[in-house]
Every structure is written in structure tokens, then in C-alpha cells.
């Protein structure tokens, strides 16, 4: 043993053995909990969907209840709803929940925005994955920010929703951005608008009655690329 420890290769060998031993335990450990982690992620998504659909969410709901409500009342996306999950009552769509995702300031932001049956009145917004700066960008997950969206009406032209500088006058599709988190706010605005524009153009085909808007609708995605350009210059 002593002879071996004096050998030149000993530290290399030692490091290999120790690393292999500890890694094995960690890998075993994480594969044991993998299913649970996946279920937690799925539940976080379901919670966000339930949170943005009207009348489904109450504070203090337990995970099992969230899952039950999701399974029983929320329909998966189909041809008539594009990418959006739907809440139906007697076969009629009452509300839509559109998932969105994109790159935030640090890591991807994933969330869900809900609209009423008219596809324009916002019923809520929720996030199920984000890693923005705690206390600044992460404020987007707080009720103070999210509650602003309720009742807003998405614009037919240009950007469906705008995040404005706090203190300015708000229109029917404007909410206040998060102070001190310009990057998060501009990115979030672009992410949400891109998802909404895509969804609107998906839904556009079965909306023949909205003739006057078809032109502006098709222009929508073009204007939504603006925030992206502004970001690059920041």
C-alpha cells in the first residue's frame, strides 16, 4: 500500500476511484426520485393552467385537488383550440389556457395565459417555471404583477399585450412592467406576444366572420418581432 501511494499515478487513480464511487451513489439517488420529480413538474404545469382558468382555482388547494380538477375539467388542446387547453361547460368552450415559453433573463420562462371564450379578455396569467432574479424579475410570479392581467383585453392589432413603464397611463391591453427588471419585462412581453400571435393566426382560419381584422391579424406576428430587436440593442 505504501509503495503504491508513492507511485506517480496514485493521485490520478485515487481521483478516478473516488469520483466513480460518489457519482454512482448520486446517479442511483436521482434515478430513484426521477418519477417523483417528473410528477412534480407536471403538477406545477397543471397548477398554472388551473390558476388561469376562471372559477377553477382557490387558494389553499392541495396538489391532489389541483390534479383532480385538471383531469376532470380541463380539455387537452385540439383542432378547434390550437395550442390552448380549454375549459368547457356543456360542450361550449368557456375559457382557454395558452401555454407559452421562451428565454428569460437567466433561464427559460414557462407559463400559461388564460382568456375567456372571446379569446381576447384575459382571465389570468401564471408561471410554472422561471429563474429570474429573486426580488426583481421573479416578481412576475407575485400576485401584484399577475393580477394586473385579469380583465385586460388583448389588442387585435400589433402587440396583443404591452408591459408599460410604471406610472404611465394604461390602455385596455397594458399592464405595468416590473421596476428594476427591464430585461425580464421586455423578454416576457415578447414571449407572451409571440405565443398569442401564433395562436391567433392558428385560430384565424376558423374565424371567417372577423373579415375586417384578417389583414391586421396576419400583420400581427411582424410587429411582435420588434421587442426582440430592441433587446439586442440593450
Amino acid at each position: 500500500m505504501k509503495l503504491m501511494r508513492q507511485a506517480k499515478f496514485y493521485p490520478v487513480l485515487y481521483m478516478f476511484v473516488v469520483t466513480a464511487a460518489f457519482s454512482t451513489v448520486v446517479i442511483g439517488f436521482s434515478s430513484l426520485t426521477r418519477e417523483r420529480v417528473a410528477a412534480n413538474e407536471r403538477l406545477a404545469f397543471e397548477r398554472a393552467v388551473v390558476a388561469v382558468l376562471p372559477g377553477l382555482y382557490e387558494t389553499g388547494l392541495r396538489s391532489a385537488q389541483i390534479h383532480q380538477r385538471f383531469v376532470e375539467q380541463v380539455s387537452e388542446p385540439d383542432a378547434s383550440s390550437g395550442d390552448a387547453f380549454t375549459l368547457r361547460k356543456g360542450g361550449q368552450v368557456v375559457a382557454y389556457a395558452l401555454p407559452f415559453e421562451g428565454q428569460g433573463f437567466w433561464a427559460p420562462i414557462r407559463g400559461v395565459i388564460g382568456t375567456a371564450a372571446d379569446k381576447r379578455t384575459v382571465t389570468g396569467i401564471a408561471f410554472y417555471e422561471q429563474a429570474e432574479t429573486p426580488g426583481l424579475g421573479a416578481e412576475i410570479t407575485q400576485p401584484a404583477f399577475r393580477d394586473q392581467f385579469k380583465g385586460k383585453v388583448l389588442a387585435r392589432e400589433g402587440k396583443p399585450i404591452n408591459l408599460r413603464r410604471p406610472g404611465t397611463a394604461l390602455g385596455e391591453n397594458d399592464v405595468y412592467a416590473v421596476t428594476g427588471a427591464t430585461q425580464t419585462s421586455t423578454r416576457l412581453e415578447a414571449i407572451v406576444n409571440r405565443a398569442l400571435n401564433e395562436w391567433q393566426s392558428q385560430m384565424g382560419s376558423d374565424k371567417a366572420q372577423s373579415g375586417p381584422y384578417s389583414l391586421t391579424k396576419s400583420l400581427g406576428p411582424i410587429s411582435s418581432s420588434d421587442p426582440g430587436k430592441q433587446e439586442a440593442g440593450q
Binding site: P11, V26, N40, G135
Partner: protein
């Protein structure tokens, strides 16, 4: 007493870690997490539990391997061992308490770079038997924890008007204008500064009569 002046008896180790060489107010180590996770008492409790687990077990593990580890690669091995325990904590939180993991954000992972952990492995685990190393890590982490809990208690009560999420009388009511700055990082700077000042003053006033 061992060659480098570190205590070996359980009582001496406890006094050293909790008070005389307290990692926060004496050595001023591990400050990043002190500032980051002390805005809510609950987050702090979990963070402290994670640190107690990591420091005591990694110091003990380093100590078990101390006679086999070549000196020139000992820091690599220490980092590996620390990362091992931190990943276990992270995986456990992800599986059983995902909301807490989301609250603590990157700070669980950052325990790996917490100076206290490596500090104890280097200063004690490396040169003492496993039992003592475990105790040393344990009491140092407790020394860290109680200061963090003091900071967190003041920050949550003054900044949010609650304690462990429960509204407090007076502070939770309309009469108390919540100090938002206390839940933001600058609030931690002020609180930590005050706590270090108070504890050092107590320490000094106790030591002076002996001289």
C-alpha cells in the same frame, strides 16, 4: 488541543463553533447565503438544515479519507465530497419539496461554494478523526444557523409583518408600515451589520475582564 490549536473535546468544539470562532460574526464566512435566503424564516430554516447536513457529513467524510487522500489533490477531493452531499440535498428537495427548492433557487447548489463547508474540511476534517470532524462541522453549521435565524426573524417581521408566514400582532396590522427594504438584499446588509456588531460587542465585553 491538537497541533494546530483546534479543540478536540465535544464541549470545546461546541463552544468554538457556536461562539468563539462563530463562522458568521467572528470569521465572516458564508455571507452570500446569509444575505440571500434570510428574507423569510422558513427559507432560512431549510437552508440551515441543508448546511448542517452538508458541513457535518462532508467534514466527517473528508476525515475518513484523510489518510488515503494524496495532499496535492485534497481540495479536488473535498470539493467532490461537498458537491456529493449538496446534490443529494438538492435532489431530495426537488422530489419532496419542489416549492421550497424554487424558493431557494440557486442557493442550495451554491452551498458547494460556501466558504464554511470547505473551511471546516480544511481546518478540521483534514487533520482530525471523523467523530470530532462531524461535531466540528455540526456546531459550526449551528453557529451559522442561529445567526441566520436572528437575521431572518427581524427581516420577516419588519419587512413582511409575519413570522413563518403567520401575520404578527401589530406588525401585520395597518399600524405598521412595512419596511420593504428589509426583505430586499440591502436589508440583509443592515441587519447582518447590526448583528455582527452586537455579538462582537458582547464577545469583547466578556473577554476583557479576563485580561
Amino acid at each position: 488541543m491538537s497541533p494546530n490549536g483546534a479543540p478536540t473535546g465535544p464541549r470545546a468544539i461546541a463552544i468554538q463553533g457556536l461562539w468563539r470562532d462563530n463562522p458568521i460574526f467572528r470569521q465572516v464566512l458564508g455571507i452570500c447565503s446569509t444575505l440571500a435566503v434570510t428574507n423569510l424564516v422558513m427559507n432560512t430554516v431549510v437552508m440551515c438544515a441543508a448546511l448542517v447536513f452538508t458541513v457535518s457529513l462532508s467534514a466527517a467524510t473528508v476525515s475518513v479519507l484523510r489518510n488515503y487522500t494524496p495532499r496535492n489533490i485534497r481540495m479536488m477531493v473535498e470539493t467532490l465530497i461537498i458537491a456529493f452531499y449538496v446534490i443529494i440535498v438538492d435532489v431530495l428537495l426537488g422530489a419532496y419539496w419542489p416549492s421550497m427548492r424554487a424558493n431557494l433557487g440557486p442557493y442550495v447548489g451554491l452551498i458547494i461554494t460556501n466558504c464554511i463547508v470547505m473551511g471546516r474540511c480544511e481546518a478540521y476534517g483534514n487533520s482530525h478523526p471523523p467523530g470530532g470532524a462531524f461535531l466540528d462541522g455540526f456546531f459550526n453549521a449551528l453557529g451559522y444557523s442561529f445567526i441566520l435565524l436572528i437575521v431572518a426573524t427581524f427581516r420577516e417581521i419588519l419587512g413582511m409583518g409575519s413570522f413563518l408566514g403567520m401575520p404578527m400582532p401589530f406588525f401585520g396590522g395597518p399600524a405598521w408600515d412595512k419596511w420593504i427594504i428589509m426583505v430586499m438584499p440591502p436589508g440583509a446588509f443592515f441587519m447582518l451589520g447590526i448583528v455582527v456588531w452586537v455579538f462582537r460587542s458582547i464577545q469583547q465585553s466578556r473577554e476583557e475582564p479576563k485580561k
